[in-house]
């Protein structure tokens, strides 16, 4: 009797909370978990007539096929190299901006600068692609007509020359994200005890020396943790940056194809479900392993910042 009452009161306590959680839980179940079980598609020869479950199993054929193409190498290389470059240069740019911002005399100015600097990160990739188009289009773009022509340099057909895009994409990505990225470092700098700087000043340390010996070392933990987190996501690329910003130009694939753009093109443009699913699963699995590895490293460096 006592036991039964215990159970009902426990149920009375948990049931309303479960009800509150239900809609969100259901959403994650559908949006995230069902597709996780759907990864078996990569091991099938999908034929819509036979249905997803009725299609023939083909083992690792899709993967074998994928890794025989040069696409597999190109998209892996591009994804990794772009992300590494973004992490290194992005961190440097963001810290540089954060330090400058922290040196500004009044809070008001830093707030004004901040709103200017986050603006690029708030626009969509589509609008970004249009801004880039205004600068780079061959016929009337700003770079060709207002920079190269007045200087007497030959005009460049930007959207058909793959060799320029590694530089362009890094510049574009920095323009879009460096200001936003500096917010975290700015907050860390603002949290540093001012008396440390006072003490350094009394010892005769100038500004640059203070930055080198106080600010940068104190930012190190943040840099390491954020850097490692980014490395955990190094197999994921921003689809819009590599698809819409180069305007999906075929001539640029060698330097703009990443795993995400390949997955899209194979699925939607080539109708090759098998290859697309194989590339997607390759990305998910390597990404998952990377997150686990990175997390165990973060745990060792600074256990408070570990994800789990």
């Amino acid at each position: 009797m006592r036991n039964a009452r215990g159970t009902t009161s426990a149920l009375r306590k948990t049931a309303p909370l479960l009800m509150l959680a239900a809609p969100g839980l259901l959403y994650f179940l559908i949006n995230s978990y069902i597709p996780m079980f759907g990864v078996f598609i990569a091991f099938k020869d999908i034929n819509y007539a036979k249905g997803i479950f009725g299609s023939d199993w083909i083992g690792f054929d899709n993967f074998q096929f994928l890794f025989k193409t040069t696409d597999a190498w190109i998209m892996t290389r591009n994804t990794l190299l772009y992300n590494l470059t973004f992490i290194v240069i992005g961190t440097i740019c963001s810290i540089f901006i954060a330090i400058l911002m922290a040196e500004l005399l009044t809070k008001l100015y830093s707030k004004l600068y901040l709103s200017g600097l986050v603006l690029p990160s708030l626009i969509s990739m589509v609008v970004l692609s249009m801004l880039v188009f205004a600068f780079l289009n061959a016929d009337s773009g700003f770079v060709n007509k207002s920079i190269l022509r007045p200087l007497g340099l030959p005009e460049i057909n930007w959207y058909s020359e793959a060799k320029y895009w590694p530089y362009l994409l890094v510049i574009i990505q920095m323009w879009k994200t460096a200001g936003y990225g500096s917010i975290v470092y700015f907050a860390s700098i603002a949290g540093i005890d001012k008396s440390i700087y006072e003490a350094a000043k009394i010892d005769g340390a100038g500004k640059l020396r203070q930055i080198r010996t106080i600010t940068l070392p104190l930012l190190k933990p943040t840099v390491i943790v954020l850097g490692l987190m980014s490395i955990g996501r190094i197999f994921n690329s921003d689809f819009g940056l590599f698809y819409q910003v180069p305007l999906n130009a075929g001539a640029l694939y060698s330097t703009t194809q990443t795993i995400d753009t390949y997955v899209y093109r194979a699925l939607m443009q080539l109708n090759d479900i098998g290859m697309s699913a194989a590339a997607g699963l390759y990305q998910s699995i390597v990404g998952f392993v990377l997150v686990l590895v990175v997390n165990s490293i973060v745990k060792r460096v600074n256990s408070e910042n570990a994800l789990f």
Binding site: L25, I41, V127, V184, G206, F239, V263, M268
Partner: protein
């Protein structure tokens, strides 16, 4: 704090450098705004320039003439952003609340279920097949709202952390001793006390919806479901698209040439305007969200 000459010089140097960096962040926007009011012939002959030879409002007049297409896309974007953000915020915080209650038996289990979605994903193909073959979501408003954007693990954990650390458990307990149900506790105590984090997460969601074009890329082929972003994509692919709109002919025979470059830029400007409007009042929530998100992912 007394400043030495070196410090003052450094502060001045920082201010000037920051001025240049901020200018660099702004210049592309200024370029497209100027391009949108540049005469088409000037754009064609001299290219995009900060100091065009001839100005013209043709692009905006043209947009006014094809207002139907444009306003419909604007309407779709607003509708999707408002519904998506409202529903998303509700289910996100409803899920975060039980997770924040340490006395709730399954709070860790829920946290794991949510967290795991941030570590592993089934990828594009299974979810594409699920949404199209089983939920038949193609060409609907749901296609723009539901896949991927309605809730994500990061936001749920952000709200849970806030609930956990900013709302005292005593308050919840005393409300429940007074006979408040969980539902009532959640809506009357948790939500009103958590306005800052709800504003932050709401802003993240609103921006994600306003800027999204990928759901439509996968799931929409009928232009009547295009929001502003996908109208822009279409416009980049083919300027003539605007002509296929119902008001396309209203431009009249007087328009010798379609101000295609300027129209593109005018559309881009109109796509950014809502963000410029909401940014100043909401910026502090954005900044706060970035900081707490980075520190306590």
């Amino acid at each position: 704090m007394i400043q030495t000459r070196g410090e003052r010089a450094f502060a001045l140097f920082s201010a000037i450098l920051m001025g240049f960096i901020t200018l660099a962040a702004f210049l592309p926007f200024i370029l497209i705004i100027i391009a949108s009011v540049t005469k088409e012939s000037s754009l064609i002959n001299d290219g995009y320039s900060f100091f065009p030879k001839e100005f013209s409002m043709d692009a905006y007049l043209y947009l006014k003439a094809s207002a139907y297409t444009f306003l419909r896309a604007y309407g779709v974007s607003f509708l999707v952003t408002i519904i998506g953000t409202a529903v998303g915020l509700l289910i996100t915080s409803m899920l975060a609340y039980p997770m924040s209650r340490r006395d709730f038996k399954y709070h860790n289990a829920l946290a794991f279920v949510v967290f795991f979605t941030m570590l592993f994903s089934g990828g594009v193909v299974p979810s594409y097949i699920m949404w199209t073959q089983y939920f038949h979501i193609k060409d609907s408003l749901a296609a723009l709202i539901v896949p991927n954007l309605l809730a994500n693990g990061f936001n749920v954990l952000l709200v849970r952390n806030y609930f956990k650390s900013n709302v005292p458990i005593d308050l919840i307990e005393s409300a429940q001793i007074d006979g408040a149900t969980e539902m009532r506790t959640f809506f009357r105590i948790m939500l009103p006390l958590s306005v800052p984090v709800l504003a932050t997460v709401g802003l993240f969601m609103g921006l994600a919806y306003w800027n999204d074009w990928i759901n439509a890329l996968y799931y929409v082929s009928k232009p009547q479901y295009y929001g502003i972003q996908n109208l822009l994509v279409q416009l980049m692919n083919n300027i003539q698209y605007l002509n296929s709109g119902q008001a396309g002919n209203a431009v009249g025979a007087g328009a010798v040439e379609l101000p295609s470059s300027a129209v593109r830029m005018a559309m881009a400007v109109l796509g950014i305007v809502p963000i410029l409007v909401v940014l100043p009042p909401l910026q502090k929530y954005l900044t706060r969200g970035v900081v707490i998100g980075a520190v306590k992912g």
